[in-house]
Symmetry: C2
Subunit: 164 residues, 2 copies
């Protein structure tokens, strides 16, 4: 998957050969309802839970941990469900309209540069995005039509914390 | 793909065996900017246009027809881009937050009934949804977490009007 990058050796655009390995719609649910949402998608659409990453921080010991990302398979496609937290550093905080599109790539900076070159606006810095997409580094762009795209490093934590 | 339906012969839930063949995020763009959006997604994310359905109705002869649905491939996934029109009968009019998730199935009514049974709210009737997803019959449900899902008949017009 990650071996398509090096085909374009021409220097006119350093990011021309950026490639993406996956696109995953990510649904942000008002915390702490993401777990209920996962149950709903299983019942309503036959979703299968592939993996789940939990937020290790709890406000109180008795509270259930929030879901950073639950990866579901629906009709062969991957959908991510996440609790929206009030952590100002979280890339999932300002998910725009509740649905963002997560693109995985091995070249986060190159992909963001290419999107910005095409007319998107980068929002914030590339951060270590625990829970965003697959837990790796993540940046965010808003396209000229108002849609938010998360540009994520290839999922180095995918499936690490399965609690299906 | 469509042969998974008949496994559950138990009568307790007539729709228990509903299956889905595809999930496609659908992005609704303020008309007439969908064509620009397609060009942007090609430049920014390497999208490939698979097919395009145009609205045969124009307000004026000199205007370009609006895009009912342009099917793009990004990172192996399908994304639909559509102009939002002011046709009150159009299922794409009230797309909620601009991104809806389109699920294809051979049993539109069964799928809607199952989702409603799980807690979703059906919105409107099942209609002949020109352009919605793939041009076939389409219904709409809003899930308990605010997300809108289009439940579409298997795409009988997919790829019919390629103008890439």
């Amino acid at each position: 998957m990650a071996q398509q990058e090096a085909q374009n050796g021409r220097p006119e655009s350093a990011s021309a050969a950026v490639s993406f390995s996956a696109l995953k719609p990510q649904l942000f649910v008002e915390a702490p309802k993401a777990n209920d949402a996962v149950l709903f998608y299983k019942a309503a659409f036959g979703a299968e839970e592939v993996s789940r990453s939990l937020n290790p921080k709890r406000k109180a010991e008795h509270e259930l941990p929030l879901i950073l990302s639950a990866e579901l398979k629906i009709a062969g496609s991957t959908v991510i469900v996440a609790d929206v937290t009030d952590d100002p550093a979280s890339p999932v905080k300002t998910g725009g309209n509740g649905v963002v599109l997560c693109l995985e790539t091995s070249d986060v900076e190159g992909a963001i540069a290419k999107a910005v070159n095409a007319g998107a606006v980068a929002e914030g810095e590339v951060v270590e995005g625990e829970g965003a997409c697959c837990g790796g580094r993540v940046g965010k762009v808003k396209d000229p039509y108002g849609f938010v795209w998360l540009i994520c490093a290839l999922g180095n934590k995918c499936g690490a914390d399965v609690e299906a």
